[in-house]
Amino acid sequence: MATRNRTPVYRKYRDALKTVRAPSSSSAGSRSSAGSPVIEMVGSSILKQSRSYAPLRTDDPAYSSGKGAPTAGLPPGWVDFSEEIAANVQRAWAKMVELSKARAKALMPSFADGKEDQLLIETLTQEITDLIRRSEKNLKRLSSPGPAEDSNLRKNVQRSLATDLQGLSVELRKKQSAYLKRLKQLKEGQDGIDFEMNLNGSRSTMDDDDLDDMGFSEHQMAKVKKSEAITVEREREIQQVVKSVNELAEIMKDLSFLVIDQGTIIDRIDYNIQNVASTVEKGLKQLQKAERSQRQGGMVTCVTVLVIMCFVMLILLILKEIFL
């Protein structure tokens, strides 16, 4: 797209105007600095300092122009959750890349027993599922407590993070099912031979010994043992698959509640901005009302009256001391 950068021109004007303004601002600063600490102190004790907003700084240019930028206030608490979730999602993607590499290696035919590969694959899958679960818990925490002002903002953040998470879990499931399908193909290709998914190979050999004194012929015994071993293996694998599929399906179910349908009006930026405009106007009206009622509030008058009374009493005391 065509753009033109006007920042250098702008900076030039701003610096030029700053030097023109500088002598006048220092005198203004010295005038207000005496008054400002008092107002700040009084202000902070009356107002409830909610963490979401920076302390009110009504009018002291000396405060900020000296530092070059106003001191940043603290963001609200839930931002920590969303940042954690974003970091988890990043980590999970990195692990997914590792996982696909490990799976590809495991699928390659090799003579060595693929036990370490299997272990690696399982641990990686576990870790990724853990990350997804933790992120999901954090996501739930995003919605629960807190003031209602930024509820819309939180909902939007929640929705975008939920979309990311859902994408991640869909990827994981797809890759997992593809891997298992290839695995099954390989299995059918090599029937009866001991290979990758067999973690308990030792158990079947023990069964071999136990069945030795039954009345069947050796040939048939061998066949029966082999098919038993295969079925046991298959059952185990299927159970693992079912477990992981169920886990992921649960997570997907939860997430799908939060995700917005594609292409509907809510997803569009211009709709959100129009809504923002109308709610910001309403918010402005409320703020103005609040400011008015606060100024008229009895608290401020009370405090000023008390302070004046203190001074008056002090003066009376001094006078009493002088005259007596």
Partner: protein, 505 residues
């Protein structure tokens, strides 16, 4: 909220600059990044720099997007005071200047975004077009010539500025192709359709998005006529039902897994199907209520074919018909008046009187006002194909051959204009160049700007033309997106202002 960074995307108008000034004087955010959609004047930068005492502004950029791109070859400017183009300059000079400025800003932003500097031609008979053409030329070639000095291609693109009043028939006709029909009957604003005023719509369908970028079905069907759309929607619904049925018999774990995999797609399809079905249902209802099949047939006859006597009879019958709504009656009389303005004044007067007696809300003199603005003397192009011998012959041939669809036989005048440009036969007398511009050979990019607004029928024409790959790319733009209601409203506004000003003078 100084932990937040604020990004502002604004038009560089004086009100926005004033609002920004107040913001910057007491900033609420930590950092400000300002993006303007058009050229910033130096004075405006000065004002902003002056008020930025806290130095919160980190960057100021111009990002040229001062127009609304509705479709790939169609943009609009959404100007509210659109009716000003119909009035002479003496009536309300500041408002007209405002209108022209907005149009000039929009056009210059478009060319900056395209990174081109065009050769400009305008319609001779239109004052508004002439004024805008000269101002655009001044901006691009004199005032900001450095900014517009792009790499020159062998043939410069062409900017053609025409006036809506040269073709008043197209906005008045009822439409039967999907996108145009939705806009005509319901109304599309910024690719969104608001269905709230129609009762009994489920909550998530009340405001829907109709955009070719995001909806594959719409992209394939936006230029199809109503009958074909019905067939296509039926096949889409059948497909969807198949999918739903297959989702219902889940027996194994694999089926479950497949279902969960496909669920987001399923939901998306469900939303899409219900959106289109709702739209088509609503439109069918309206067509039924207003007897639009009958009305539209007569409209198309008036716009395309001859036969004054038959036309008069048909219009009279429809005016007497109780079921025809007021706006449809008004449109019929307007179309008749535009076509047979000179042929039989007595019958025309009869029609006016009948219209006034039948429609209580009709503002008297509106049709006469339209004739004054866009009558046969004011028009440049050959709107009804009855000036040029060649065109008459072509019409007769078409009449003999017959048309495939009576309801979509009308071709907007824009189509003829595009053809003349392709053949290199756009007359200099009718569409002169600005100043000493000259164009050798044929342009490869043509931007047509219609002062007064474009219609979706014209954008369809442009899209179909571009699809034929004739070597020339057309882009269409207007000051608003018209349908018949908006066009009539503009006429009424202009008439009101003209009346009040003449009574003052």
């Amino acid at each position: 909220m100084s932990h937040l960074k604020a990004i502002y995307f604004l038009r560089p108008t004086s009100e926005n600059i004033q609002h920004l000034r107040r913001q910057l004087a007491s900033p609420r955010f930590g950092e400000y990044h300002l993006f303007f959609s058009n050229i910033l004047k130096d004075t405006q930068i000065h004002i902003l720099a002056d008020s930025d005492e806290h130095e919160v502004v980190q960057q100021v950029q111009e990002f040229y997007a001062d127009f609304v791109a509705v479709d790939p070859y169609h943009f609009t400017l959404n100007i509210p005071s659109n009716h000003m183009y119909m009035l002479p300059a003496v009536v309300d000079p500041p408002r007209l200047q405002q209108f022209c400025d907005r149009v000039v800003d929009g056009i210059s932003a478009l060319f900056l975004a395209l990174k081109r500097r065009p050769v400009i031609r305008y319609q001779r008979t239109s004052d508004a077009a002439k004024r805008i053409a000269h101002e655009v030329s001044k901006l691009m070639y004199q005032q900001e010539s450095g900014l517009f000095d792009f790499r020159r291609t062998e043939v410069s693109p062409l900017l053609l500025i025409v006036d809506r009043r040269d073709d008043p028939v197209t906005p008045l006709l009822n439409q039967w192709t999907y996108q145009a029909m939705v806009h005509e009957l319901i109304g599309i604003q910024d690719n969104k359709v608001d269905l709230q005023s129609f009762g009994k719509i489920p909550k998530d369908q009340q405001e829907v998005v109709l955009s070719a970028e995001q909806d594959a079905f719409f992209k394939a069907n936006m230029y199809e006529n109503f009958g074909d759309i019905g067939i296509n929607i039926k096949s889409m619904v059948d497909e969807f039902q198949q999918l739903a049925k297959s989702n219902q018999n889940i027996q194994t774990i694999e089926d479950m897994a497949k279902f969960v995999d496909n669920y987001p797609e399923y939901r998306k399809m469900h939303g899409n199907v219900s959106k289109h079905v709702t739209l088509v249902t609503e439109m069918s209802k309206i067509v039924e209520e207003r007897k639009l099949m009958l009305v539209s047939e007569t409209e198309q006859e008036l716009a395309c074919n001859g036969g004054q006597v038959a036309a008069f009879e048909a219009v009279t019958n429809l005016l007497n018909n109780e079921n025809v709504s007021d706006i449809d009656r008004l449109r019929l009389v307007m179309l008749y008046a535009l076509r047979y303005e000179k042929e039989s004044p007595v019958q025309l007067m009869q029609l006016f009187n009948k219209l006034a007696s039948r429609s209580p809300k009709y503002k008297p003199g509106l049709v006469q006002f339209l004739l004054k603005q866009a009558g046969v003397d004011k028009r440049t192009g050959d709107l009804f194909g009855n000036r040029d011998l060649l065109n008459i012959a072509r019409n007769m041939a078409r009449g003999l051959k017959g048309v495939e669809n009576v309801y979509t036989q009308h071709q907007p005048l824009l189509f003829q204009t595009m053809e003349s440009i392709i053949k290199g036969r756009l007359r200099d007398v009718d569409y002169p160049f600005v100043g000493n511009h000259f164009q050798q050979g044929r342009p490869q990019e043509v931007i047509i700007f219609v002062v007064g607004g474009t219609t979706y029928e014209e954008s369809r024409s442009v899209a179909l033309q571009n699809a034929t790959n004739s070597g020339i790319r057309f882009i269409l733009g207007g000051s608003v997106l018209l349908n018949s209601r908006r066009f009539i409203k503009d006429l009424e506004e202009a008439q009101r202002i003209a009346r009040s000003s003449s009574s003052v003078i």
